[in-house]
């Protein structure tokens, strides 16, 4: 599923990240890489998605979060 479809408090794993190099650089340098475990903390309509990953609370805007495929674990 897409990260934007995940529910709050879901424990998950990043499956894939898509996008051009510039976006990829930004997203991976903050720690969102394939295989990383994370927790969806908050996912409200029209708001950025909040995830907890590598001991960090990260906020991603929805358009970017749509490009991230995740799975529940």
């Amino acid at each position: 599923m897409k990260l934007t479809d995940s529910k709050a408090d879901m424990q998950g794993k990043i499956l894939s990240v898509g996008g051009e190099d510039h976006f990829m650089n930004r997203i991976t340098s903050i720690g969102i890489t394939e295989g990383t475990r994370f927790q969806t903390v908050r996912n409200d309509k029209k708001m950025p998605v909040l995830i907890y990953l590598r001991e960090t609370l990260i906020s991603l805007n929805r358009a970017d979060a749509e490009r991230i495929e995740v799975e529940k674990i």
């Binding site: 408090d9 424990q11 990240v17 190099d21 510039h22 976006f23 990829m24 650089n25 930004r26 997203i27 991976t28 340098s29 903050i30 720690g31 890489t33 394939e34 295989g35 990383t36 475990r37 927790q39 903390v41 908050r42 409200d44 309509k45 029209k46 708001m47 950025p48 909040l50 907890y52 990953l53 590598r54 001991e55 960090t56 609370l57 990260i58 906020s59 991603l60 805007n61 358009a63 970017d64």
Partner: protein, 613 residues
Amino acid sequence: MTGSIALLGQPNSGKSTIYNNLTGSRQHVGNWAGKTVEKNEGSFTYNGTKYIVTDLPGSYGLSGNSDEEIITTDFIRSGQSELTVVLVDASQLERSMFMLAEFARMDKPAMLILNMMDVAEGMGKEIDTKALEKKLGIPVLPFNATDTKDYDKLKKLIAEEMKAPHKLKIAAPAEKADVKADSKEKFKWVSEILENVTRTKDAIYKMSKFDRLMTRPVLGKVICIAVVLLAFVVAMLFMMPFSGVGQMIPTLLHDPIEKLLTSWNVHPWIISIFSMMLPNTLSFTLSMAGFVFGVNIVFGFLEETGFIARAAYQFDGLLSKLGLQGKAICPMLMGCGCTIGGACGTRVMDNWGQRMLAMSIVWAVPCASIWSIIPVISGMFFSWWQTLLVCVGILVYVVITMVVVSKFFCKKLVPNDTKSGMIMELPPYHKAHWKHIFKEAAYKAWDIFRRALGTVTLVSVIFYVLSFSSDGNVNNSLIYRVGTFIEPVTKFFGMGWQTFMAFCSGAFAKEAVLGTLNAVFMGNNSLMEATFFSQATSTDAALLGSAMTQMISPAEALAFMFATTFNIPCIMALSTTYKESHSLKWTVRVALFYICNALIVSCVVYHVANLFM
């Protein structure tokens, strides 16, 4: 003897705090050659050796193609600095060590600072710094950026390392052509290093109660707005002693100076410069510095605690439409109180382009002074519900101006490739370190006082020359002659010479507008006194109203109100913008934009209103 070091770290790693504490007031701000990226360079002296410190622009990595990353990489590779001090956040060790993985490929002398050890310890995290040091082969210093005692250790270590530098002895992460694979490789490198160095519990993250409130879609926004408006009130409280002293200056100095100079038979023109203009300039600048002090304290507090990051999360969606980061909401709300506060509040923005764009948009926010004059003038011409309509009309045009400013400047200031959506961390709430906040605020306020005094004095002199008349009669001033001469032109924009003069003095200080109107319509006090001695002049709105309604039409009044609201904010806000942006070119550019915008809106309002009134 001198040495040169560079500070490297991700945003929120506490890099600027360390830079400020290391270098104190010995800082120089410029631009990296050919780039709109701010270059911060400072120095400190330890044991007789001077060390130049370059604060490298903050970014999450070094492999991207942003200006910041290219500058940082080039600088480190060039070897201009003999030692790179790499900063990581101990409370988010795994993620922030990514920067060290990037750095490792450059094979240059380095040392590592584990910042925010107190936060990490508070989270129950254990880090074996000795083991880390052994693995890396470079010195590792556990650190609290806000603890002044730690800086001696840091300086001592820097001095030692400059004599006998160390390089990472562990091999750099293998390079992969694919961005994804490359990042993975770097994180693998980090986890291998951190193995047996730190223990991390794989716990389920629980938001704090406050965070749960702060991230609620509607309530969170309401809290943010309330907090920033409250912060404005608190900033005003900090300002009060300064402006209290400031307001006493003109009154206290005026008579003695005048008496003294008169007894020396000095020309009255010179006397009024020294008795009226200079004390007033000093008073203005002092109040302004006091306000900057207050704003820096409250923003320092909000930033250190992590509040600003929450506000950014809340408002990012809305502000991205203007090309701004969510963080800009704080200076924008601050601008409702005072544009100076808004301009210096933009320090929370991440890069120069964003900061400049935020400042130019903050200018459109009508400040409290505007709201104190518009209803008065409107009340002279219109009924209460019409006045309400005027205010609504102004608010609508505020939004329009913001959109136009953004359209106009966004491309240059925030190029598309740097604009990608918000990907940011919400740092955990920290306790505020008051001593540190006060120190930095005092330094900022002093800096702005020192630098702005010159700018404000210069503009004051210009306005003074324009408004001077030997007998106090407006008709003898230069500005009257210029004003009446170009009246055919200003009439086209909806303003006669009287309102045009008030428009000009509004660009100097919004508080001067009523006094100027009083001077030009009633001839009660001189224009100069209205502008430079506003405390001593009183305006009787009812009398002024009857004089104005006789001499100008409601359409002209309406046009004037719009022109004044959207004109450049005031000379203090202008000089704050210049000082904060370090760019005369951009300050002038934005100022010209606002003057044109004000004239255009005034012109349109006047001619449209004439059709109906």
